[in-house]
Amino acid sequence: MKKTFSQSMAWLHTWSGLIFGWILFAIFLTGSLSVFDREISQWMQPESAASQVPATTAVDRAADYLRNNHPDAPSWLIVPPSDRSATMLAYWQEGQEFPHVALDPATGKVAKRDTDGGHFFVHFHYQLHAGTIGTWIVGGVGLMMLIGLLSGIVIHKRIFKDFFTFRPRAGAQRSWLDAHNALGVLTLPFLLMITFSGLAIFAFMYLPSPVKLLYGDSLEDSEEFFHEARPHVDLEPTDQSAALLPLGGFVERTQQAFGTEQIWYISVDHPGDENAVVSLEPLYGEQLTLSNQLIQFRGITGELLQKGMPFQPATHTQRVLTGLHFAQFGGAVTHWLYFISGLVGTAMIATGLLLFSVKRRRQIVLDSDVSTGFLNVVDRLNVAAIAGPILACLAYLWANRLLPPGLAERPAWEIGAFFAVWALSLIHALWRPARRAWLEQFTAAALLSLLLPLLNMLTSSQHLLVTLPAGRWRLAAVDLTVLALGLACVWLLRRLGMERQRTAVSGSAAPVWELADS
């Protein structure tokens, strides 16, 4: 069968959208949450949320912790508290891995409620919690997202004529298509930017050949490349041990050097060695480019090694793209715009997945030769791919409050709850009829999100009755956003209920479980 260009694009969009949409939904959802990773971390450690330890003191305490527990690690990295979060993270190197622990800045000990916090969402967003393989999968899926966006533009022939069009009463397929188009087209600049820049972050990993060709295959060769691309000081360890200066002093000098209070991270290479190197970067609140304000010192003498990073144009481009993706700039306004745009993208993917079902169901009604077996599988996987991650994220927050604060391996338990609930959602979706599965899982999501602020009141001292009067908006916003999610679920459920009543009254035989009114 000969096909036109736009027909083959439609085929590509439909099938790549379906298959990769199942995982893209979770990637976009956790990506949107990652915008507020620090705020979520702070919410998840209410015991240290009220502490107001300056970064200078906090990093000294973190360094003490690392010195006592991981003195021989080749490098350390500390994310100090900032105005976005009172808690801090300490990383140490083990081979190629960087395990970390959340510390309470007030005591310098492992935080009472040890957790990965919002960082887990960041991690899941680009690695699916599966290490390097995960990064490759996310890269492949991200590429498919880009293909989905571009093929979507090609097959959407009335992109300008239908720019403002949304017809909720025009029949299920029409309404879902309108919603899918509107959500996609109106956030298209964001979606193209975020997908492309996401791929650009790992460009050197996804496309290693140019570097290998020009520099060579070995690890040293690629290190040489990175050294040229991002000029910084690297000293070899001497095996002469020496005492590191207090890290707080370096934080202070960085604050003075760039005229900013907020420090992104401080890292130490070969901490106990004579050639220890301390590197810092401020938080980039006022520019897109990341990493061009690197500052490096000798850890033992305090001598300034380098200030700023002179980029070549290509590196600069890549660092701007990275900066656009990480959205450290512009403060709360940018964060909320990114968060909303990200959720719109998430909803766009969800409507696309549902559209596949709606369309296929209509084909079945019109032509009895199309089998229903495949559609049943799609319906069930849709439930697990859309309601599943929402439930899993909520379960993660619930686990944070329900697990005993002193539990060993606590972060792993919380993450376990995330995956366990997602797996339960899949099993439930396979077991129940699709329509019931939607109803039940969204009821669960509504309950979990509406009750979470209540649970927070019972289990912590940083709940809405405290945070709202005190004007602690960053903490209150987490509770309020979860409440808003709960209300959105209730609204969806009401629409589902109305739909069912109408079907019952009209006695229509077609299984109209769709949410849209027709």
């Binding site: 403002f164 909720p168 600049p189």
Partner: protein, 110 residues
């Protein structure tokens, strides 16, 4: 600043939207005259540009446009989901706040 930008972009998007026959019919009877269509298009474009200008003043020439794109998306989404449910409110809300926002931004720009 962000509120001003949102209001201006919302106004701009509404004007561009009403310049189309189909959407004009959603809020008023009949069709817009050719003249009115062009006035709406020009006003809409001008409002969006003022919003961009404000963004660039508030966040600088690099971050400003990024914020502006976000504001465009959010304001157009509000408009698009309000039109079928509360078409009259679209017009009223615009008439209520747009002139104020325009005045405030003129003060900022001058």
């Amino acid at each position: 600043m962000i509120v001003l930008m949102l209001v201006l972009a919302y106004g701009g998007m509404t004007a561009l939207c009403l310049a189309m026959n189909r959407h004009y019919r959603q809020v008023r009877f009949g069709r817009p005259s050719l003249q009115l269509k062009w006035i709406l298009r020009l006003t809409g474009t001008a409002l969006l540009l003022v919003a961009l200008l404000l963004g660039s003043i508030g966040w600088g020439p690099t971050i400003g446009p990024v914020v502006w794109f976000g504001v465009l998306s959010v304001s157009a989404l509000i408009l698009i989901f309000m039109l079928p449910y509360r078409p009259r409110l679209v017009l009223r809300s615009n008439l209520a706040v747009s002139p104020l926002a325009l005045l405030a931004s003129l003060i900022i720009l001058l």
